[in-house]
């Protein structure tokens, strides 16, 4: 569904991505793994349009979109989360869910004319389902790190999307929240969603992913079935060597 073809990017003297090529299969959970500095987050940045690659192509269902702006790419159906949670520090949880709901809110004149009724029940259900035990009108800076991660995930899922890019969804959270998130991701798997996850926890990946892509020094080292790939000697060496 998502084809990464020969993507390269360098920052000054540092080569972040070096002819990176792989395909993300539809309706499957793909894990993107690799040692630190392998280029995983940079790749996400390129796919979501925040960084322009020096070379290469990206095709979503056959449509080229490397040169598009990040908001256009997002509207094309790509939802993304960040390893370090990025939320809007003066806004409430309710505000965030409304922002994720649709892009009708970006129309100035339409919103001056009329405002739709706020679907507070829907949003309450969402935060209940994600287990965030705070009122909707809480400003997000008052949430714990784990709650913010859950909110970020909730937003990414609530948006209409075709592809999810999740950057280390369980990094830095406690055991309880990690289990919560894993359950939510397993739900995605049951619903046949197309997801790419960057993760370091190998067992987590083994349980969850249908497909693994291993990145090292900006290029794909191996890709395929988790059990096969994780036995691959080159992969083991890359991790040990890092």
């Amino acid at each position: 569904m998502l084809e990464i073809k020969n993507i390269s990017k360098r920052f000054g003297g540092v080569i972040a991505l070096n002819g990176c090529t792989f395909t993300v299969p539809r309706n499957k959970i793909t894990a993107l793994i690799g040692p630190n500095g392998a280029g995983k987050t940079t790749l996400f940045d390129v796919v979501s349009g925040l960084i322009r690659p020096d070379d290469g192509q990206i095709l979503l269902d056959g449509t080229q979109f490397v040169s598009q702006r990040p908001d256009a790419i997002a509207r094309a159906g790509i939802s993304r989360t960040w390893q370090q949670v990025r939320l809007f520090k003066y806004l409430t949880m309710l505000d965030h869910l409304v922002l994720a709901e649709s892009n009708e809110d970006a129309k100035m004149f339409a919103n001056l004319a009329s405002q739709p009724r706020l679907k507070k029940d829907t949003y309450q259900n969402i935060i209940d389902r994600f287990g965030i035990d705070r009122p909707l009108d809480t400003v997000v800076t008052e949430l714990s790190y784990g709650q913010r991660k859950l909110l970020q995930l909730a937003m990414a899922l609530h948006r209409s999307h075709r592809l999810l890019l999740l950057d280390e969804p369980v990094a830095g959270v406690n055991q309880i929240i990690q289990e919560k998130i894993e359950k939510l991701l397993t739900d995605l798997k049951d619903k046949n969603e197309t997801v790419v996850i960057i993760e370091h926890d190998i067992e987590f990946v083994r349980r969850l992913a249908h497909h693994i892509v291993v990145l090292d020094q900006g290029r794909v080292l191996a890709a395929g079935d988790p059990n096969v790939v994780l036995q691959d000697r080159r992969v083991i060496e890359a991790y040990l060597g890092a």
Partner: protein, 290 residues
């Protein structure tokens, strides 16, 4: 009803409230430190003055003032679309210098340092707004309409999107929000209002020259916004009242007029620095200045 003196002060408060509200829209709600805001004020003033002197009816000139300022607002936003932080502040400041310089040097159009005297009072057909009381009514109507408009806008979902752009424009774009378009709309609306304020200024004073649209003026407007507080519309209005009334106290103390001018500027500067040091969110600010 009001004494002539009170009327005069209220008119100025109204004009500066418009400037404060519009700068707050772009700075407090959208996160753009536009130090060139005063240039739009000037563009509106000169446009309205020149058009009415050429025979254009006041309502059209007023509208044209806002629209032309808005067009410049768009081009400024286009120029700074990839710029942030203090660098953005510098470029917009540079823009205001360039505009000031045009007012000063394009003497064929603006009469340069001599300024434009004899700007006509607003008139529509047979009816001319000659009295200050009447002018106050005009200013108040515009301030109220603008305030209501901005209040409705900033309370709506659209207002939230602007604030999201302010807080983290990258995260906003990744949610699908068209960041540049939103910033441009905000800037254009802001400069439109500033242009209208410029027109009101020109037709009230009936004389304008480039010095009203330079550095010390942007500090005044910025002080109003910061003291009122970023992200608070009522803060900007209340701060405009405070900022314009306090120096008048100097007049009552009986200081000679040669002193009042610089004292007023010193007061504004001290207030600005004081607020930045001691109470950076100002009176009603919901957001920190960055």
């Amino acid at each position: 009803m009001f004494t002539p003196y009170a009327t005069h002060i209220l008119i100025l408060i109204g004009i500066y409230a418009l400037l404060g509200l519009s700068l707050n829209l772009v700075l407090g709600f959208t996160g753009l430190l536009n130090l060139g805001h005063i240039a739009f004020f000037g563009i509106g003033a000169y446009t309205s003055a020149l058009l009415t002197l050429a025979g254009v009816p006041f309502p059209l000139a007023l509208l044209a003032a806002g629209l032309l300022a808005s067009v410049f607002g768009f081009f400024l936003m286009l120029a700074v679309r990839k710029i942030k932080g203090d660098y953005l502040a510098l470029v917009t400041l540079g823009f205001s210098f360039v505009v000031y310089s045009i007012f000063l040097n394009w003497t064929g159009l603006t009469r340069g340092p001599l300024g434009i005297p004899g700007i006509p009072k607003p008139s529509l057909g047979m009816f001319t707004l000659a009295s200050n009381q009447g002018y106050l009514v005009l200013v108040l109507i515009i301030v109220v309409l603008t305030s209501l408009f901005l209040w409705r806008l900033t309370r709506s979902r659209f207002g939230r999107v602007l604030e999201a752009v302010r807080d983290d424009d990258l995260a906003a774009s990744v949610l699908g929000k068209p960041v540049f378009r939103l910033q441009a709309q905000s800037m254009m609306l802001s400069s439109f209002i500033a242009g209208i304020a410029g027109s009101l200024f020109a037709h009230y004073l009936t004389y304008i020259d480039p010095t009203s649209f330079f550095l010390s003026e942007i500090i005044l407007v910025l002080t109003i916004v910061i003291i009122g507080g970023l992200g608070s519309l009522r803060g900007s209005v209340i701060a405009a009242v405070i900022i314009l009334v306090i120096p008048e106290v100097l007049r009552f103390v009986g200081l000679p007029s040669a002193i009042v001018g610089p004292m007023r500027q010193i007061l504004y500067a001290v207030l600005l620095i004081g607020v930045l040091l001691l109470k950076p969110r100002g009176l009603f600010g919901r957001v920190d200045l960055t």
